[in-house]
């Protein structure tokens, strides 16, 4: 399935947006977390600064998000994991409210209760979780609902290669195939689950091969490339919409940054990330667009500046928004 120029440009712009979002977050996150402003003797303080807590960024993994979400509609469900921003942005989650959430502000998606691993935007059917492997069964549920409601909606579960060793992943694959659910399981193989390499955690080289055990197609996208992901996802989404059941896709992608910000990355060869960046998927797609005559320097600069305005406005919005009142901690345990 070949993308149209419009789809290529959409993927390019979204990748640029995700990258700027993540790189901005990497900087903002460090504010207030380094000496001398923190407790004496510490090198870093995870709970300090405007964006406290853990922070898992997806710079480098943009192709997975855009290649899949290019096929999705508003009514399709996306369930992400603990590294959720690229999926959220590609699924058109409200950028202002999402950013406010990560700052813990009152006007955040979860009114400050969730934070970066727990983003919920029902308007575009997006959710995610900090529990590795938790999302796949939930995507099955969304898909089951679509089926019961007689809609051609699909559900996508995104997760890391580390999550593919959880029981929940295997149970979800079996259910989805058994019940022919319109689910697309998308595994991001970024080589690591925190410090543990895939070769040390996973009994076989490609998770795509595991699909056979559950009677569904398994597709390996062996390069970090938006167009390649687009092609694989296009088939899978179309198949799901036709009512033919689930597909498992694994994409070899690259994690440019630490597992979380502040990760010393001692388990990783020095300069590994730098080498990965030499083949940056945004540049690859940019070059393709230029070849097709869809992009030139002027257009690229204009696109990047529009994106930048949008992203920076989200950060400003979040920064300038008020915190919730402390006692609001007591609200929303139950729905009203």
């Amino acid at each position: 399935m070949d993308p149209t120029s419009e789809q290529l440009l959409w993927m390019y712009e979204k990748m640029v947006e995700i990258r700027e979002y993540e790189e901005t977050m990497a900087k903002v996150y460090l504010e207030g977390k380094l000496p001398p402003k923190i407790q004496k003797g510490l090198a870093f303080d995870i709970g300090a600064g405007p964006v406290p807590g853990e922070m898992h960024l997806a710079a480098g993994q943009e192709p997975v998000a855009v290649g899949v979400c290019a096929h999705l509609r508003r009514e399709d469900t996306v369930v992400g994991a603990h590294r959720p921003h690229h999926f959220a942005i590609a699924k058109d989650v409200d950028l202002l409210a999402m950013t406010s959430e990560m700052f813990g502000k009152e006007n955040g998606l979860g009114k400050g209760k969730g934070g970066h691993m727990h983003l919920f935007d029902p308007a575009v059917k997006f959710s995610c979780s900090g529990i590795v492997g938790a999302g796949a069964p939930q995507a099955c549920g969304a898909a089951l609902a679509a089926k019961k409601l007689g809609k051609d909606w699909v559900a996508v579960s995104f997760f890391g290669e580390g999550a593919a060793n959880q029981g929940s992943f295997h149970e979800a694959l079996n259910l989805a195939s058994l019940w022919k659910l319109p689910v697309i399981f998308v595994c991001e193989d970024n080589k690591y689950g925190i410090s543990v390499e895939k070769s040390a955690s996973t009994a076989i080289a490609s998770n795509a091969d595991r699909a056979a055990g559950y009677g569904m197609p398994g597709v390996l996208v062996d390069k970090n490339d938006a167009v390649a992901v687009f092609a694989a996802a296009g088939e899978a989404v179309a198949r799901a919409r036709r009512g033919e059941g689930p597909t498992l896709i694994e994409v070899k992608t690259d994690r440019y940054l630490g597992h979380f910000q502040g990760d010393p990355e001692t388990y990783r060869p020095k300069n590994e990330a730098q080498h990965l960046r030499e083949n940056d998927p945004i540049n690859v797609l940019g070059a393709q667009l230029r070849e097709r005559g869809e992009l030139d320097d002027a257009k690229d600069a204009a696109l990047r500046s529009t994106v930048s305005v949008r992203v920076q406005a989200a950060y400003e919005h979040a920064r300038n928004s008020p915190y919730p009142a402390p006692e609001d901690a007591l609200l929303h345990v139950f729905a009203d």
């Binding site: 923190i38 407790q39 003797g41 510490l42 090198a43 870093f44 303080d45 995870i46 709970g47 300090a48 406290p52 807590g53 853990e54 959430e101 813990g104 502000k105 955040g108 979860g110 400050g112 209760k113 969730g114 934070g115 691993m117 727990h118 979780s129 900090g130 529990i131 590795v132 492997g133 938790a134 580390g162 999550a163 060793n165 959880q166 029981g167 929940s168 689950g193 925190i194 410090s195 543990v196 040390a200 955690s201 996973t202 502040g262 001692t266 388990y267 915190y323 919730p324 009142a325 402390p326 006692e327 609001d328 901690a329 007591l330 345990v333």
Partner: protein
């Protein structure tokens, strides 16, 4: 406890890993399994240096597969090995609780004592650094509620080492819960009272012995884990106001040292239970019930008061989290209020 000569200051993380290391040297049946415990040294540094010392056969990085490796620990323990199995955050118990509470906790009982499962589950607990509802819980009451699991919740490095060695030598399953905010990590602010003098030699601290960590005559705070450190700071403030607080550090929930609690409450006549777990159906209610059951033997001057997370998930945003989790100031406020109350 064996006599100790060499004394130096360790963080609680260092004390935990030293305790494990010394037991691994002593007993080659002991090994460790868990996520990122090898090269990384444990996300909360509970296994730092162990891979270099003992190699990958005894310091085993696992897949993210908690049901798998918790079940493996049970099977290996039944064969006579002594696994330490790390559940990175206690919050992840949800994905492997069947192995823990239906098997680890019950097989000894259901076998009429014929099966021994000397497993230590180590796990990080607690909030205070904005890690939100899935990474900030204490949940020790949940584990203590299940018959068949011993539950250890240290507040400082000295206790942590002695309790860890005791845990490894115990023939029963032990859940060893370390609060992240007292481990003395270089990347998370912590309460420095938890870093203290730790003998270099191996030593044990028996389970079921609470410790009076501060003597006082006006009011007892019964507490555990990081909340001990917060209570000590609150007590210093209150001392300046003329309120003399006694603090009981429970150290282990199962077995629970009721006598020390009752003795202290009998002495002061006022008790605040300070807990970082959820308020309802938990540690604070249990302690209050134990006191209530002895009211024919002890004289209270005021009703029992409890301070805990007010039955909400731990929120992310800083002001919300600070509100939900009891802080030094809220402990001090609760003590002041309780000093004004009288039973008459």
């Amino acid at each position: 406890m064996s006599t100790a000569t060499k004394v130096r200051t360790l963080t609680m993380a260092e004390a935990v890993s030293e305790g494990i290391s010394q037991e691994m040297e002593r007993d080659n049946r002991v090994f460790v399994m868990g996520e990122d415990i090898g090269k990384y040294g444990g996300i909360f540094s509970a296994t730092t240096g162990l891979l270099d010392k003992f190699g990958p056969d005894r310091i085993m990085d696992t897949p993210i597969s908690e049901t798998g490796f918790m079940g493996t620990a049970i099977g290996a323990a039944a064969e006579g090995l002594r696994p330490i199995s790390e559940l990175m955050f206690v919050d992840f118990f949800g994905v492997c609780f069947d192995q823990i509470y239906n098997h680890l906790a019950k097989n000894t009982y259901m076998s009429g004592g014929n099966v021994k499962l000397p497993v230590v589950i180590t796990t990080g607990i607690g909030g205070g650094y904005n890690d939100a509802a899935q990474h900030s819980q204490c949940l020790y009451a949940t584990f203590a509620h299940m018959p068949g699991l011993k539950v250890v919740v240290p507040s400082n490095a000295y206790d942590a080492k002695g309790l860890m060695i005791q845990a490894i030598r115990d023939d029963n399953p032990v859940v060893f819960m370390y609060h992240k905010g007292i481990m003395g990590l270089s990347w998370m602010s912590y309460f420095e009272g938890s870093t203290n003098e730790v003998p270099a030699e191996p030593y044990t601290i028996p389970f079921g012995q609470a410790k009076v960590v501060r003597e006082g005559k006006d009011l007892t705070i019964v507490t555990l884990s990081q909340m001990v450190q917060k209570s000590l700071l609150a007590a210093d403030k209150l001392a300046a106001e003329g309120i003399d607080v006694e603090i009981v550090d429970l150290r282990t929930l199962v077995p629970l040292d009721k006598e020390t609690v009752l003795r202290s409450v009998g002495k002061t006549g006022r008790v605040l239970i300070a807990d970082e777990d959820y308020l309802s159906f938990g540690v604070s209610g249990e302690i209050a019930a134990i006191i209530a059951e002895q009211l024919n033997h002890l004289q209270l001057k005021a009703p029992v008061r409890r301070l805990a997370v007010p039955d909400v998930p731990i929120p992310f945003s800083r002001p919300l989290e600070q509100f939900a989790i009891p802080q030094v100031d809220s402990i001090a406020d609760a003590v002041r209020a309780l000093m004004q109350l009288n039973l008459d």
